[in-house]
């Protein structure tokens, strides 16, 4: 029979896929929302099982190792909490008529397809399969972004689609080049695309081919990560889609794409003659950080504001991974985890806010701590978390990024810090208006559940105060493997 570990690994993929099939045909939003939640929970349980059980041996297609399990766990956890949020949130969209039941069914099915695609991208041991999975995730989210069918939504989806497709084409070209580099060494056929095989022989690959390949891959997957100047789809896609999707986009999809970049970074790092991938990532990361933080100032739409903040943070993470070294990699991993939790929490809060205030316009949301103290302070805490203030988790990671960078590259660290301060200014200038001052109209209570929001914030806060040694040693181990 099939061995248990293999089972869990496959289940992580099978559950969402099966759930998607069911969700596509079942009627009634309550049932489907529950089912969606259940499927996400089951996936999470499987991932946890994966975590506890011994690592399965890599196959030609699937691989579980120390590195990707971090991503998978994060992915399923946020996927689950978002589904909880979505379940209580999406009913409101049905009531206000923004979505029809058919679209809602479609939405739930697509949600699971997206989970499937992301998990597939993460567990795949095959660069071709990974590419397919990310492509699938892109297409799914394109459809979700356009789901409201307003002019703006369609425009955003179209932009996303075009830019995403170009990115994905570039990534494919890069993938082919990698194979091309590997083929003389590992022989023709499937081994040339299997990750573990590639890594084992990377040192003997033709460096020049790898270089060109990496540029294509960096730009291709970098589009998905939202690195400047490839970011253009991101703010619009975040602001026009349903809020749970914004949360998933920011919290998860960006990570998945970054994971892809990281894998190829490792490949290049394993080849001594190839270019150093680090500086490129550092450059793009820094550009993203500085650009996005300046873009925060003139924002008028609350979701777009936080979308730019996501660009900023992906910039920081890319920067840290680019810097490399155990400390920076650790910081990057921690930052990524914290960012996922915090950013999705913020989008949950934003979802509540846009429901109670009936608008996403920043100018129309005023004095939130007055009318909705819990929500308002929740948002304040979230924004502070994302701005890297203690006692919240991102402070720890930013502390490590900055201090470890400054000792090595002072100028870069100064630029980094400048970006962080500018970003704080940008976020705060809007937060001040949103949270304080005389309140604007809209005092209705939010229908959706606060639990996911505060669960995330509590986790982020706890992580800021105390990181379990087990987690840290695990992260450090992973960071060590990331070179």
């Amino acid at each position: 029979m099939i061995a248990v570990p293999w089972d869990a690994e496959t289940l992580v993929l099978l559950i969402p896929l099966t759930a998607a099939a069911f969700l596509a045909v079942l009627p009634g939003y309550r049932l489907t929302a529950w089912l969606n939640m259940l499927a996400s929970l089951l996936t999470l349980v499987c991932v946890l099982a994966l975590f506890i059980l011994p690592m399965p041996a890599p196959t030609q297609f699937l691989l579980i190792d120390d590195v990707n399990i971090v991503f998978i766990l994060l992915n399923s956890f946020v996927g689950f909490t978002t589904s909880v949020f979505s379940a209580s949130y999406i009913g409101h969209e049905l009531h206000t008529g923004r979505l029809t039941p058919v679209y809602l069914r479609f939405y739930h099915a697509m949600y699971q397809v997206l989970m499937f695609a992301m998990n597939l991208a993460l567990v795949s041991n095959n660069i071709g399969l990974m590419w397919v999975a990310i492509e699938l995730a892109t297409l799914t989210t394109v459809l979700m972004v356009g789901i409201y069918r307003t002019h703006q939504a369609i425009e955003a989806a179209w932009k996303y689609f075009i830019l995403g497709s170009v990115g994905i084409a570039l990534a494919l070209f890069g993938t082919i080049l990698v194979y091309k580099a590997a083929q003389p060494v590992v022989g023709e056929g499937m081994p040339g695309m299997v990750w573990t095989v590639l890594m084992a022989h990377a040192a003997k690959f033709d460096p020049a081919t790898l270089n060109v390949a990496f540029i294509f891959l960096l730009l291709g997957y970098g589009t998905k990560v939202g690195l400047v100047p490839l970011h253009a789809w991101l703010p619009d896609a975040h602001s026009e889609g349903p809020t749970p999707i914004s949360a998933v986009l920011s919290g998860l999809l960006l990570n998945v794409a970054l994971f892809a970049v990281l894998r190829f970074k490792l490949l290049l790092a394993a080849n001594p003659q190839a270019i150093m991938p680090g500086p490129l990532m550092v450059m793009l990361g820094l550009a993203s950080l500085l650009f996005a933080s300046l873009m925060l100032y003139r924002r008028r739409d609350i979701k777009r504001l936080f979308a730019y903040s996501s660009i900023e943070h992906m910039g920081i993470i890319t920067f840290a991974f680019g810097m490399g070294g155990a400390l920076a990699n650790f910081a990057a991993l921690l930052h990524m985890t914290m960012h996922s939790l915090t950013k999705s929490a913020i989008f949950f809060a934003v979802g509540h806010i846009s429901q109670v205030k009936g608008t996403q316009k920043i100018a129309d949301i005023r004095g939130l701590t007055e009318t909705h103290p819990v929500l308002g302070w929740g948002l304040v805490v979230g924004v502070f978390a994302i701005a890297g203030l203690p006692p919240l988790g991102i402070f720890t990671s930013e502390f490590l990024v900055v201090t470890s960078t400054f000792a090595r590259e002072p100028l870069l660290a100064v630029a980094l810090v400048a970006g962080l301060v500018i970003a704080l200014g940008g976020l705060l200038v809007h937060l001040n208006g949103i949270a304080f001052g005389s309140p604007s109209s809209g005092t209705a209570r939010s229908q959706a559940s606060y639990v996911p929001l505060f669960a995330h914030l509590a986790l982020v806060c706890a992580a800021g105060l105390y990181l379990p040694p087990a987690l840290v040693s695990w992260f450090r181990h992973v960071a060590g493997r990331l070179g």
């Binding site: 100047p229 203690p390 201090t403």
Partner: protein, 668 residues
């Protein structure tokens, strides 16, 4: 140590209790009551450590934060001294809050954050590794920010909070870089490791510069002070007292800790930077203060001035230490630390007074106050002592520490290097100037607020504040006097602190006859606050006694004389702005580009004449406005990127690809 940590824990737990209890009255009493108890317990522990002769430094490592670093806490003499300052200020603020807090309109915006703020400050001075330090540092900023924006309905408040948080983060960022440099690429974040590590001169200098930015911005060093006069007055008054009196001291602590403790031997030019900044800060701070007519803002600017004075002391200590003049360095450092304590007492006292005025009249604008000495005699008395102390008048404590600073200045000729040697007397002149201006400023503050005739109805009908507030004020008034007449005790207490930092301490003072203080040697200079106090009291009493006994003691009340032209309207009195006008004309034309524009109606026109005074804030105009403008312009420029066509976005992607490929082609 255990006591201190449990006090911190109590403070950290209080917000939960505060939020849990619905009744605001109970919550107020609970928060401030427990806060008071915790502060007192911690104070006792800190004092015990400071006075103990055992020579042990309790330390504790909590498994918090980053596991391979842990949260190190250590209570050495320096920490103990600053913890004393923090706790004393905290305890008094709690006491004050017991009364003042009742008038709070939205207690839920104050109560949860107040104990957090206290805890944050305590943690900063306890921290013994870079991570814990910065964590607590930023936490403290954040908690105080929440308190600043408590009264969020005023646009100014929120703006003040904005500027504050940005500057605080800027400061933290600078400190972050400084500690990054100190810790090195391997991440040796513990203070012990940093202390042990060797730092190259360039590195150490960079750290100093970053510290001046980081700790300086929090302390309010010109030109990084801009947030301070906005944020400090915006908070509730007991919080203003804490921010001005205590938090700025925590910033001083950061500077002392790193520069004197962690960095090792200073370089010769460091002192010049610190002295120059200190001198400029002291004078500009007080000049700004003179231009204010908002009572709390005036006080906030005086904090800037006093920070300058403290930095002058620190700069002197650096100068002496760089040349190995340990006794002089000990003197200068003692002066600075003494002033730290003093400033905490009188600035808190003054803010408490301002808060009392605010409670009683609802006014912060001095142009609408006046005559409060009749309505609020106790407050007025306490405030007067605070004014005298901050104006460095003997026999109060402000004078004692400034006197020590002057004595340190007088050690200047011992310096061998020309740079510091010539700078020291000039800075001494600046110090003297700021002291004189401060006295003028507090004549104005007290004279316009408490003396003269009421300028508005609320001022005329005000009443004395509650007994908790009064108790807090009187407590500090007594402390101001005690520290002023018994400075020797404080100096001796500071002995181990200073000894630990510069290797030598000031001579033991308690053995001197009559409790005189002697900085270097008896023949050189000495001062006896107690005797001066006794003499003055005796002389005044005797004079009064003699005159009343043998001359007249008859008294008649009548209208004011005023050269025969008494005007009933209180508007004919000197206003705060009017009082400052001569000084503004002397100094302001240069420093603030102050201009007066008089518009007289032509003859025959019965319209009023108008006098307009334009005071420009050059620091803002030179340092901040360009940055804000640059960010604004960049944001505007870049914002166009949001509105490109898809084709143009594609062009960007394409361009990035081509550039990278070209780079690859050309590079390889």
């Amino acid at each position: 140590m255990l006591v201190v940590m449990s006090a911190v824990a109590v403070l950290l737990a209080l917000p939960v209790a505060a939020l849990g209890i619905g009744a605001r009255r109970v919550a107020t009493v609970l928060v401030y009551g427990f806060g008071l108890a915790a502060s007192l317990a911690s104070l006792a522990a800190a004092l015990g450590q400071l006075l103990s002769t055992a020579g042990t430094t309790p330390a504790i490592t909590l498994p918090l934060g980053l596991p391979w670093i842990g949260a190190h806490m250590r209570l050495d003499a320096l920490s103990a001294f600053f913890l004393t300052v923090v706790d004393l200020g905290g305890a008094a603020a709690c006491l004050y809050g017991l009364g003042y807090g009742r008038h709070e309109r939205a207690p839920r915006r104050v109560l949860p954050f107040f104990p957090l703020f206290l805890a944050g400050m305590q943690l900063v001075v306890l921290a013994d590794d870079a991570f814990t330090f910065l964590f607590s540092w930023e936490f403290m900023s954040l908690a105080s920010w929440a308190l600043v924006v408590a009264d969020h309905h005023k646009g100014d408040t929120v703006r003040a909070g904005y500027v504050y948080l940005i500057m605080a983060s800027f400061g933290t960022a600078a400190l972050l870089l400084a500690f990054g440099l100190l810790a090195g690429p391997e991440g040796g974040y513990g203070f012990a490791a940093i202390r042990a590590a060797a730092h190259s001169p360039a590195e150490a200098s960079l750290v100093l510069a970053l510290l001046l930015l980081g700790a300086g911005s929090k302390a309010g060093l010109v030109p990084l002070h801009v947030w301070l006069p906005l944020a400090h007055p915006a908070a509730p008054s007991h919080v203003s007292a804490l921010m001005s009196g205590v938090m700025t001291k925590v910033a001083i602590y950061a500077f002392v800790r790193v520069v004197f403790d962690l960095l090792g031997q200073p370089q010769w030019w460091w002192s010049m930077a610190v002295l120059t900044l200190g001198g400029i800060t002291a004078v500009l701070g007080v000049l700004y203060a003179l231009m204010q007519h908002d009572l709390k803002r005036l006080l906030a600017y005086h904090t800037v001035e006093n920070i300058g004075i403290i930095y002058i002391g620190l700069g002197l200590a650096l100068a002496f230490r760089a040349e190995g003049l340990a006794p002089a360095a000990a003197l200068a450092l003692t002066a600075a630390l003494f002033h730290v304590l003093n400033h905490m007492t009188f600035k808190s006292l003054l803010f408490f007074g301002a808060g009392a005025v605010l409670t009683a009249t609802g006014e912060r604008d001095m142009e609408r106050l006046g005559g409060l000495i009749h309505r609020m005699p106790v407050t007025a008395f306490a405030f007067l002592i605070g004014c005298a102390a901050i104006s460095a008048l003997p026999p109060f404590n402000g004078f004692a520490s400034e006197w020590l600073t002057f004595q340190a200045v007088l050690q200047g000729p011992k310096l061998a290097l020309w740079g510091p040697k010539l700078l020291v007397p000039s800075v001494g002149a600046l110090l003297a100037l700021s002291a004189a201006l401060a006295a003028g400023c507090f004549v104005k503050a007290f004279g316009v607020t408490f003396l003269s005739r009421p300028r508005s109805r609320p001022a005329a009908t005000a009443g004395e504040v509650d007994r908790f507030s009064l108790a807090a004020m009187l407590l500090f008034a007594v402390l101001c006097l005690l520290a002023g007449i018994l400075p020797g005790l404080v100096i001796d207490t500071l002995g181990p602190v200073v000894g630990g930092l510069v290797g030598q301490r000031m001579p033991v003072q308690s053995v001197e006859p009559w409790l005189t203080i002697i900085p270097i040697a008896a023949s050189h200079s000495s001062y006896n606050g107690l005797l001066v106090f006794v003499f003055i009291t005796w002389a005044a009493l005797t004079a009064a006694q003699v005159i009343h006994r043998w001359a007249s003691h008859a008294l008649r009340r009548g209208p004011a004389w005023d050269c025969g032209y008494p005007d009933a309207s209180p508007l004919t009195q000197y206003s705060a702005s009017g009082f400052a006008q001569p000084i503004r004309r002397v100094f302001g034309t240069v420093v603030f580009r102050a201009t007066e524009e008089v518009r007289m109606p032509p003859p025959g026109d019965t319209g009023p004449a108008r006098l307009e005074v334009v005071v420009k804030d050059l620091v803002w105009a030179v340092f901040y406005a360009p940055v804000a403008k640059a960010v604004g312009i960049l944001a505007d420029r870049l914002n166009r990127m949001q509105y490109l066509t898809i084709r143009k976005y594609l062009s960007l992607v394409f361009l990035a690809l081509v550039i990278l490929l070209l780079a690859l082609e050309l590079w390889l």
